[in-house]
């Protein structure tokens, strides 16, 4: 029995001191109880907050018990000592890595991606709500661990991009350190330095170190686990197995892509076990600790891993749908553009294999769009090193890195094909790629060592190598800091426009200014995170644009992205005196338009135009024209001209929503009221009419004769259901616009919450034009719309009408079907011969697909295709 036990006695040899032994046992039992308590607490949503302390303590107690029970001894082959020279070079590499990762971290790259904002938002919840401590953040598909670290940074450094990115930068920096230890454990100090250097200056790694999302944890935990596994294999100390287990277990609490690391570790352990069994049966092979000793070590590894991952594993088992939802969302098996799976997989594989040297990730957040992921020198070394490693695949560490490479690439290959190559989900492969590159260097260096070159030649070769080192530092740094971060695509992908919007909104003094933004910018996640004080900004949702429906008591700041410059065009027409500013991208292209509109500019459009004729009829021209703010007048005490007279009041009446409106007209004498060219009131004294109005602008005209008493027009407005509820009151300035400045144009749209235009419509609305991508759909799909009105044809001839759409649509002119689009189309056209003048027009649209859009255009005889302008469309028959 003793010889068998002696084989692994150093692993389980307990301390001789009885008190320490008892203390160790006690801590071990406590750690188990603590883990159990954590699991119980995390099993209920209400008690999750109490689970964290026992969970974290359990791993600390486990390690403490191991060190107290079993003394740590230096066993196995010893590594090369760390000479002052090695330490100096290490510090130099770390300094380079630190600069690359921390230099102007707040503003480089400029902007903030949505996921960074989400992470910041969760950190904000954690800090503001002590009861918010879920083990898994379902909303963003990750355990809370990473968010917790970010919350810590936010607590100390504030709610800035820097705080979020500091955590990822530190993970990146730590990976450089761990890479050194992996290299040292594998082939000595020189290899460790080489591997750390490659990590330090790899643009791919720098990019993700400066990007505040969880992905950067992937190479860190992979390298950490590999280092500790190699160390455990060398020392065969139970403590090292436990550390390896902890690293492996904790890794599973971070980025979801780490799940592909599990088979890598399992394969390595399986090979380890096979090797151990092989040695035990073949005495000719060099001896190693026996397989029972290995089993003890691996059991310790599994135990530590379980302690670290148990709460998340419990969640995964009880909420498998939520746990795997992110994976299924991005899986090529459930979501892809290419219909044939085999073709999609082949294409994805090829793109991912070529991304290192040929064409990299097109996403500007992950890469300088399309640029290979590795610089030319590292790219070459990677290919050659890959071949060298393949030629030594029987060596377990080489096999480990090869499997690491393959499984991590699968993270990209098995995800959405239209994003390929995906350097984010395949980020773990960077560890293997840089390992391969470093193997090339190590092999070359060994050949130099053996070559017995003359000292001068040796110096020359070393200088050449140093020159290459300097070149790749310069190449990676300049590519990232000059080209990549100043690339428009990178700028856009990091929400440069949205970040600027948030900055401009905050600078616009939102307490005293009404904030408007185009549909993409309004209430955007990043804007909400960066400008939390903006709580009531208003969106401009096409096709409804300007004028601003504001009372005019506060100035307005309007922010428009470059996809919606039609708003700026409208603004320049309506508010020519406003202050216009343009922020540009690093490439000099317009990014954000800011318009600052004063109260005077807003009020300038509002009111009623009143024309006065002397006498009892409208012969001749008006003797006086006035713009009034409201429909109220006291002609008896303040006559504008000498009585008798006729006043013609005209305005563009804005109905803020669809529904029944009651108009109440008081006139001292006879008065008539026309709404949308239809006379609806004619009489004297108090007159009422209840009319169902579409949301939007309407032509309102009144002719009133002078007399004793007040002239007044009031209204009652509907609630959200379209029913009249409010008390009578004066029509506010925000619903009255001078007809010369705000004209009524567009088509009347009836919107149906069904796919068959079945009445009654859910709402009706006057849409100024039909040229919109429906970022926010008016109704949930499927829905239908029927636009009708008149179109003013300027000249006789053959007119071509066309559609670009996602959905189905028909265009009728003069009640004839001109365009019939039965499926999505980029351009479908039809011709009709028309005479100059107004013609009835009708468009029927069925939206049942995503990416809703409808663009209506025409081509005049001999002219060019253009979107039908708003001013030739009239919303009434």
């Amino acid at each position: 029995m003793k010889p068998f036990a002696m084989r692994f006695i150093h692993m389980i040899e307990l301390r001789s001191n009885r008190v320490l032994r008892l203390a160790g046992y006690g801590l071990l039992i406590l750690s188990g109880i603590s883990c159990l308590l954590a699991l119980i607490a995390f099993s209920q949503e209400a008690t999750e907050v109490y689970g964290w302390a026992p969970y974290l303590i359990s791993t600390v107690l486990l390690m403490a018990s191991a060190y107290i029970l079993i003394p740590y001894k230096k066993t196995g082959p010893q590594l090369q000592p760390l000479s002052p020279q090695i330490l100096l070079i290490s510090v130099l590499i770390l300094a380079i890595a630190g600069f690359m990762r921390l230099f102007q971290l707040e503003s480089i790259p400029f902007g903030m991606w949505n996921d960074e904002a989400y992470i910041g938002t969760i950190a904000r919840y954690i800090l503001s709500d002590p009861g918010y401590r879920p083990i898994y953040v379902v909303m963003y598909d990750h355990p809370l661990h990473f968010y917790g670290l970010v919350a810590l940074a936010v607590k100390f450094f504030g709610e800035t991009a820097f705080s979020i990115r500091l955590i990822t930068a530190l993970f990146g920096l730590a990976t450089v350190v761990v890479a050194f230890f992996v290299g040292r454990e594998s082939l000595g100090n020189r290899f460790g330095l080489c591997l750390a250097f490659f990590f330090a200056i790899s643009r791919w790694h720098i990019t993700f170190s400066r990007f505040g999302v969880y992905t950067i944890t992937l190479p860190f935990f992979e390298m950490l686990t590999i280092w500790l596994l190699l160390r455990a294999r060398r020392t065969f100390q139970i403590h090292d197995f436990l550390w390896a287990g902890l690293a492996f277990g904790y890794s599973l609490n971070f980025y979801v892509g780490i799940r592909l690391f599990v088979p890598v570790v399992l394969i390595y352990i399986a090979l380890w076990i096979i090797d151990s069994l092989r040695r035990s049966t073949k005495p000719s092979l060099p001896s190693s600790p026996s397989w029972p000793a290995l089993m003890i070590g691996l059991t310790a590894l599994a135990l530590a891993a379980w302690f670290a991952v148990a709460p998340v594993a419990q969640y995964a088992l009880t909420h498998s749908d939520a746990f795997w939802s992110r994976t299924s969302k991005v899986s090529i098996f459930s979501n892809r553009e290419e219909s044939d799976l085999a073709t999609a997989l082949y294409s994805n594989t090829l793109k991912h294999l070529l991304m290192f040297n040929y064409r990299g990730d097109p996403n500007g957040r992950h890469n300088l769009s399309g640029e290979p992921m590795l610089d030319p020198v590292m790219g070459i070394l990677f290919v050659l090193g890959f071949a060298l490693v393949c030629s030594r695949i029987r060596q377990p560490t080489y096999a480990l890195f090869l499997s690491l490479f393959v499984f991590n690439l699968l993270g990209g290959i098995l995800s959405l094909d239209f994003e390929a190559p995906q350097s984010n989900r395949a980020l773990g492969s960077i560890s293997a790629a840089l390992f391969f590159a470093a193997i090339s260097v190590e092999t070359l260096w060994r050949s130099l060592d053996q070559a017995r070159l003359s000292p001068d030649t040796r110096r020359l070769v070393l200088l050449t190598l140093l020159g290459f080192g300097g070149f790749i530092i310069y190449y990676n740094a300049s590519t990232y800091f000059i080209k990549q971060v100043n690339n428009d695509r990178t700028w856009d992908e990091f929400n440069g426009t949205e970040t600027l919007t948030a900055q401009r909104m905050v600078a616009a003094d939102p307490a005293r200014t009404t904030i408007y933004a185009s549909v993409y910018l309004n209430n955007y996640e990043v804007v909400r995170y960066l400008a939390p004080q903006i709580t009531d900004s208003r969106g401009i949702i096409p096709p409804i644009g300007l004028p601003l429906r504001e009372p005019g008591d506060k100035p307005v700041a309007l922010f428009v992205d470059r996809e919606n410059t039609w708003i700026i065009d409208e603004a320049r027409q309506l508010y020519p005196n406003a202050n216009y500013q343009v922020d540009k991208t690093p490439g000099g292209n317009p990014a954000l338009y800011s318009v600052y509109i004063s109260t005077q500019d807003i009020q300038h459009l509002q009111g009623v135009t009143v024309r006065y004729w002397s006498g009892d009829n409208l012969q001749g021209g008006p003797v006086l024209i006035q713009n009034k703010k409201l429909f109220q007048a006291d002609w008896a005490s303040q006559p504008p001209i000498a009585a008798p007279f006729i006043a013609q009041l005209e305005t563009t009446l804005y109905a803020p929503q669809f529904g029944d409106y009651e108009l109440i007209l008081h006139s001292p004498d006879r008065a008539s009221l026309w709404l949308d060219e239809q006379q609806v009131l004619n009489g004297s004294g108090e007159q009422h009419i209840t009319q169902r109005l579409a949301q939007g602008d309407h032509v309102l005209k009144i002719e009133a004769h002078s007399g004793e008493g007040l002239f007044d027009l009031q209204w009652r407005t509907p609630n959200t259901n379209g029913n009249l509820v409010s008390d009578p009151g004066p029509i506010p300035a925000s619903s009255l616009y001078l007809p010369d400045l705000v004209t009524v144009h567009g088509l009347l749209g009836n919107y149906y919450r069904n796919d068959s235009w079945s009445a009654p419509p859910t709402f009706t609305r006057i849409d100024p034009f039909l040229n919109a991508y429906f970022h926010i759909t008016p109704l949930s799909r499927p829905y239908t719309v029927d636009w009708s009105g008149q179109i003013e044809i300027p000249i006789n001839g053959d007119w071509t009408f066309g559609l670009r759409l996602n959905g189905q649509a028909q265009v009728f002119i003069d009640h004839q079907l001109v365009v019939n689009a039965t499926e999505p189309s980029e351009n479908i056209e039809g011709k009709i011969d028309l005479t100059a003048g107004n013609h009835p027009i009708q468009i029927r649209f069925l939206d049942y697909l995503g990416g809703s859009r409808l663009h209506l255009f025409w081509t005049a005889p001999g002219g060019e295709k253009q979107i039908i302008p708003s001013n030739v469309l009239l919303p009434y028959p």
């Binding site: 294999r233 050659l384 060298l388 060994r446 050949s447 053996q450």
Partner: protein
Amino acid sequence: MSDVTRWTIGTLIAVTGMSIGYQAWRKRQLPSPLKLSANSAQADSIWITHSMLFSWIALGIAGIAQYALRINQTGFGALGFGMAVILFLRALNQFVPVMQNAELMVDGLQPGSTSPNPKKSIPANLKAWWNQFLTKRRKPNPSLTIKPQTMPLTGALAKATTTSDKDHSSPLPAQIAIWSGFTQPDSILLTADGQILIMDASQQTIYHLNQKGEIVRQWSIPTLPEPNGHNMALSPDGGHLYITDARKGLVYVVTLEG
């Protein structure tokens, strides 16, 4: 044919021509390694130098291939990388490091060493390379004579320390003395009169220690490859040292002078 294509092909031809020219020049300057049996150290040196040269040519070709990819000449890029990989593997196959972790002591590979494989290495000249390609193996003369060196000796290797294990529950069976200072002592031999020969394979040196553990002389044997589990035996008269090289399938008979 585009400029890039012409340039790529031209560069490849130029590199190949330069390599052949260099080989021819080396052939004139030095005897063929097949004739170098009397001085295999020199032959190995040439061999290694040529391996290094070919590896740098492989790097150059890979550089051209990388450039070809960059300008979207994917066919040339793939071809170039293929050539570079083959050349690189053949040139440096013997220098691919073996992991120093204990796990890697598989099939006789020693941790931290390189893994020589003469069958796949680039030898001294094209003729020998061609011979190797036809699976003919270069057989250096295993017999050589080495004179002792007259380097000043230091006592560093003789330093002995004693360790004990305080946590061990049972008494120590014996004290342990450790000689430190070796890089990778690969083999040890005790002579009949109690003197010691230690081979430090990574330094390719054999140390002769007297009974007190002091170095009395040392020999440098540059023909020995990397540490590889060599065995040593001494002739009864002490004049010849027999060293096995399991990797190359050779036995060196070293005549010890002095």
